[in-house]
């Protein structure tokens, strides 16, 4: 029963759809039913920007099994321009070039293959600008 779990995440994984609180402006990614900041239940749907800055990072050298072929790989927390934060892979970049504050853009990539059927999960990874 993994198909519904994968397709219901498509608006976030493929289109970066987030909820922006109509009352206080907080951006929630993924969208939420109630704003954690002001408790409003009114949101508008927005798409997160595809550019941002690295706030922190690491190199994963002991990966989960579905990422075995890719290790070592870099991951970081990125603050997107205009709001919204994500924890994502940093690719197409030498590890020693990665710095806190580095500008990145998001690119649509294959993330992993899940379960025995190997259903491919797509999403975004970031690359240096």
């Amino acid at each position: 029963m993994i198909a519904p779990r994968i397709w219901r995440a498509i608006p976030q994984r493929y289109r970066y759809e987030a909820g922006k609180c109509k009352k206080c402006g907080k951006i929630c990614f993924p969208p939420r039913l109630i704003c954690p900041a002001c408790k409003s239940k009114e949101f508008e749907t927005i798409n997160l920007n595809r550019t941002g800055k690295v706030l922190t990072y690491t190199i994963i050298r002991v990966p989960p099994s579905q990422f075995k072929d890719e290790a070592p790989y870099a991951m970081g927390i990125v603050e997107l321009d205009g709001g919204g934060r994500i924890n994502t892979q940093i690719v197409d970049c030498d590890f020693d070039k990665i710095k806190v504050g580095m500008n990145v853009k998001m690119e649509f990539r294959r993330i992993q293959a899940e379960g025995e059927a190997g259903v491919i999960g797509y999403g975004y990874k970031c690359v240096p600008v």
Partner: protein, 385 residues
Amino acid sequence: MRDVAIIGVGMQKWGELWKKSLRDIFVESALLAIEDAGADRIDSMYVGCMTSGLFVGQEHIGSLLADYLGVASIPATRIETACASGGAAFRLGFMEVASGMSDIVLVGGVEKMTDVGGDEATYALGTAADQEYEGFNGVTFPGLYAMIARRHMHEFGTTPEQLAQVAVKNHENGSKNPMAQFPMRITVEQVLNSVMVADPLHILDCSPITDGAAAAILCPVEMAKKISQKPLVKIIGSGQATDTIALHDREDLAYLKSTVRAAEMAYKMAVKTPENIDLAEVHDCFTIAEICITEALDFVEKGKGGPFVESGATSIGGKIPVNTSGGLKSKGHPVGATGVAQVIEIVHQLRGEAGNRQVKDAKIGLIQNMGGSGGSAVVHILEGE
């Protein structure tokens, strides 16, 4: 609310206990705690356990463990808040006795982690993070704490040597603890030269995979004075708090707000300040965690946790000894059992039973147990006679 005492504690040496099952390691510790307490009955029990379902394929362990302890018919509930499960179970046991609902409550913790291989253990532990927005992209637990470490280094100049110093201190303490899984002393050079797991964290910055259990018996103070022959240890403060489950949703990536909040609750209930605390057991799942926790508990100002451990302030004989048991790092980290074993160390210290790792004149001890990357935190303060 009634005053509550801890009258019995029990655990056996932790490690890779291949010959023993989850139920056996739990019952061994529980029987030791009952014997230590001198109790002739148990009215109710709580068991902290993160994921027996993923580690041994067994849920419903409240019933299983009450059955194998020979107390079936009493209420028995398993509690889960990831790696803070033991601390949360302890808080519920405290509340049940304090409220008057039950008199003698057993609080246990257990995790049997070596019945699965390394990949499955990594997956099981990873479920404590946000699976859809952290795990999906490939992050691991060492990876999340590595990101906290990188941010702490960036903001405050914390060094890999300071991180390593946490491991060195805790292994030094663990070398004096017969229960510890890895009781060997290590050096800063050994930590820095060990295999990198998630930069800047080496394998010797990480707590291990462990099988283990721990148990404690709680009852009202008035009853404790009649039953127990041991020095009285009271629970004087308790706090629990949550934070966003995903690390990236936190405004401040290098600050453990759930621990700050849980500690505020516990200090307030105990009417104590950080200056009153003689020693602490804290959740050093990774070396950076202990540095951030000493800041969150207000033992040292924010950003100064690195120099604090380097100065020896948190060593035995220092201003406030931290993790005299060896911590998760050296003693081991069977996730659901950890919070209860932390209680056991503080009880031994406050009773004056800690042998060659005894903190002189220890009267008030603090326990901090944490789940995930800080999504849950539990803090307790205990007072000896």
